[in-house]
């Protein structure tokens, strides 16, 4: 029996594709701007409603902000007249002349005017220290921390309080104010809390029961109470604990309170870092004959601190925001200078408060956001090192 043409199914195929077909472009609705919009903004009825609501809200916020800060704002003037509502201008926005006039007060407080260059030099010294520590390609970074933690604090102290023997007039801390005080309080907290925090963390992980007990008691006590009460303690109880003639001045008391408070939080951050170091590192260090402090200084702390940098910076952000609380115990930090300036009858106008708060908010936001970006960048950099 012969097979006739057409018996096999295959022969019925009329066409066989022998070359690959060029891929078709994806449907227009799923790619490009339109596809992105559909996928991310209008993927379901609920999302459409949400998108429209948020657009409306954002539009309203942006409109109100621009109106308040720019278009309706008052830009020139010498006193409250410039910012008072009049029939011609029923809704005055931000009162910028108030900020121009009080800018030097916001920065220096009541620091004597001929001596203000010293504050500027202090800011410059601080900036040098910060850049030296944070910029990875800076020359001689090993000297940077020595400068930041020892040289700069001493120089700044001499510069700001004065030293008669080298011709710098004494300036009482009562006169300090504004951003100067905010930055002094924050830097003292930052400079003091790390070493004290490291010691406390080491104490908490110590084998010695008494050292451990003291560290735990201190850390848990400070972390269990609000900063306000610590500041109250520093400002009203501390003077009672020392002989009358040694009584520290108001700013120093607040600085002690802030430094102790920040160190307790720093101790917990460092402790977490120490706990993350594998036991083999400790054993290895001991096996090569290092003593306790050598082991900590050369082997453990460099690794532990490196992985805790993001958390340390986050603690610093909290500390920077917490410096505003010295306002409550009567220190003239930036927030308090704004409070004092805004209730001055010379500038009694409806939007002066909001303007002052906007300036303060921008100031704090820039610093805190900057620090949090740095923390995140460091985290990414460290994660890259782990990836190898």
């Amino acid at each position: 029996m012969t097979m006739a043409e057409g018996d096999l199914a295959v022969t019925r195929v009329r066409f066989i594709q022998r070359t690959p077909i060029a891929p078709q472009p994806p449907p227009a609705a799923t790619t490009g701007a339109i596809g992105w919009l559909r996928g991310n903004l209008f993927s379901s009825p609920l999302n459409i409603v949400l998108t429209i609501l948020i657009l409306a809200l954002l539009g309203w916020i942006a409109h109100a902000m621009i109106q308040f800060l720019i278009t309706d704002a008052s830009w020139t003037g010498i006193d409250r007249e410039a910012c008072t509502n009049t029939p011609q201008r029923p809704d005055v926005g931000a009162c910028w002349p108030f900020v121009w006039e009080r800018a030097s007060y916001f920065i220096y407080g009541s620091y004597p005017i001929p001596e203000r260059w010293r504050v500027d030099v202090f800011f410059a010294l601080l900036a040098v220290g910060v850049v030296w520590l944070l910029w990875l390609e800076a020359p001689r970074r090993d000297l940077g921390s020595f400068y930041f933690f020892i040289v700069m604090p001493v120089l700044s102290f001499i510069l700001l309080t004065g030293m008669e023997s080298i011709g710098l007039r004494h300036v009482d801390t009562n006169l300090w104010g504004g951003m100067l005080v905010t930055i002094v309080v924050a830097s003292v907290g930052i400079v003091a809390s790390l070493p004290i925090g490291i010691l406390l963390a080491l104490g908490r992980r110590s084998q010695m029961p008494i050292v451990k007990t003291f560290s735990v008691m201190f850390i848990e006590f400070v972390r269990g109470v609000p900063l306000v009460t610590v500041l109250f303690m520093a400002s009203v109880m501390l003077p009672l604990f020392v002989p009358e003639h040694l009584s520290p001045d108001k700013l120093l008391r607040a600085l002690i309170g802030i430094a102790l408070f920040a160190s307790a939080y720093m101790a917990e951050v460092v402790r977490a870092g120490l706990a993350a170091i594998p036991k083999g590192q400790y054993e290895g260090a001991m096996a090569v004959g290092l003593g306790y402090w050598q082991m900590m200084r050369l082997i453990i702390l460099p690794q532990a601190l490196k992985i805790t940098i993001p958390n340390i910076v986050n603690t610093y952000i909290g500390l920077f925001k917490d410096t505003t609380l010295v306002y409550i115990v009567g220190i003239f930090d930036l927030l308090r200078t704004i409070e004092v300036a805004r209730i001055d009858p010379k500038w009694a106008a409806p939007t002066v408060s909001s303007t002052g708060y906007a300036v303060a908010a921008i100031f704090y936001f820039i610093f805190c956001y900057g620090m949090s970006r740095y923390a995140r960048a460091t985290e990414a950099r460290l994660a890259q090192a782990e990836k190898r």
Partner: protein, 395 residues
């Protein structure tokens, strides 16, 4: 020839190099220093107090306070009440703002945390913007803003915003006060019974579902028991509730319930600020549940909503709850910033007014700290118990 082992002797170190001796010396020295400092501090303190003629001890607790408090949850009068009474007023005010704050900030924080993970790009970015802005501005500044720039900028008494018996002006929010008439007790008892019944029904329904797989209409039955039943009784009893409406006079508002602006500013400030932190906690918690869990649930045929409720959230909660508790504690501690805007909380009444009047700084600050410390330590204890019970059973 035999090799004689050299005489082995335990390596002797000088006693001052012996770690044990050293550790004892260090600890004795530390204790001595701490005791010495404490002794000096305390003797200085008594010396200073004696010179300043300030009494010591807790005798002031029973003295008449003599100052007014703008918000009191319990009976208090400046002429008759003691400092001890003022302490309880302050503590209750702190707890009031803390409890309400925790309630609202949880809702807002979870909403924003989930919004950050939304598939809607704009919503996610908006939530991120909220978190970044709020977290980077000090709470104290936010409180001052809410109080001075928002609430104090409201119209004054004469131009009060009025809607249906409610007055809003820069002195606060005045609302009708509900006054119970006889018969309300029965309604409240019905409500209580309804809640117990609903809980019991839920337990029963759950057990039945475990055994037979049959589901029960828990939501509808609970609603009927908790809302419907009391409403019916309320109507049957002839609506035994009336309102005391506030009345606007020339210089003040009489009657009704008053909510002071300090309270509102503090509550709003705390809720908005803490929510930003809770949002981050929630986001991290949800992200910690691996994608495989969701995919497995989908492949078993669960729809997105039950997947979230039954698979993702129970696992995320294990990660969320410990940091969430510490955020709650932060809220309680941050409520002490009330002192800056004049809300009469514990710190404002005690370390503010009482301290100024009595001058007994040590006692007053110690009592205030002890209160917060008790709250914190009790919470940590509860958290430790929770963590040990919830920790994953390792195989």
């Amino acid at each position: 020839m035999t090799i004689e082992a050299p005489e082995r002797e335990a390596a002797r170190v000088a006693f001052y190099n012996d770690p044990k001796v050293r550790s004892v010396v260090y600890q004795v020295a530390l204790t001595a220093i701490v005791l010495l400092l404490a002794y000096m501090a305390i003797s200085n303190m008594f010396e200073n107090l004696r010179r300043a003629n300030i009494a010591t001890g807790l005798g002031f607790w029973e003295n008449t306070a003599g100052f007014d408090i703008s918000q009191t949850l319990i009976e208090y009068s400046s002429s008759a009440s003691t400092y001890g009474r003022a302490f309880w007023v302050g503590l209750l005010n702190t707890l009031l703002v803390a409890v309400l704050g925790i309630f609202f900030t949880t809702i807002l924080g979870f909403a924003i945390g989930i919004a950050r993970l939304s598939s809607n790009w704009l919503l996610a970015k908006f939530a991120t913007g909220y978190v970044e802005t709020i977290r980077n501005i000090p709470l104290l500044l936010q409180l001052l803003f809410w109080y001075n720039a928002v609430l104090k900028a409201l119209p004054d008494l004469r131009d009060s915003v009025t809607f249906g018996g409610v007055f809003l002006n820069n002195r606060g929010l005045f609302m009708p006060e509900p006054i119970a008439k006889p018969g309300l007790t029965i309604v409240l008892m019905t409500l209580g019974t309804g809640i117990i019944g609903a809980v019991a029904y839920r337990i029963w329904a759950r057990r039945r579902q475990m055994e037979t797989g049959k589901q029960a209409p828990v939501l509808w039955v609970s609603l009927a028991l908790v809302v419907g039943l009391p409403l019916v009784v309320f109507a049957a009893a002839g609506f035994p509730l009336e309102f005391d409406y506030p009345e606007k006079g020339r210089f003040n508002i009489r009657g009704g319930v008053e909510i002071i602006p300090e309270f509102v500013a503090l509550l709003v400030g705390l809720v908005v600020y803490t929510a930003a932190f809770i949002a981050e906690v929630v986001r991290a918690g949800i992200l910690s549940v691996s994608r495989g869990q969701t995919e497995a649930a989908y492949s078993l045929g669960l729809r997105p909503q039950p997947t979230l409720r039954l698979i993702v959230i129970p696992q995320a909660m294990r990660v969320i709850i410990p940091p969430l508790t510490s955020q709650y504690l932060n809220l309680v501690k941050n409520s002490s910033l009330a002192v800056a805007i004049g809300y009469p909380d514990l710190v404002q009444i005690f370390t503010g007014t009482v301290l100024n009047q009595t001058g007994q700084a040590v006692e007053v600050v110690a009592i205030t700290m002890a209160v917060y410390l008790t709250i914190s330590l009790a919470t940590s204890l509860a958290m430790n118990i929770y963590n040990s019970r919830m920790s994953l059973a390792e195989r």
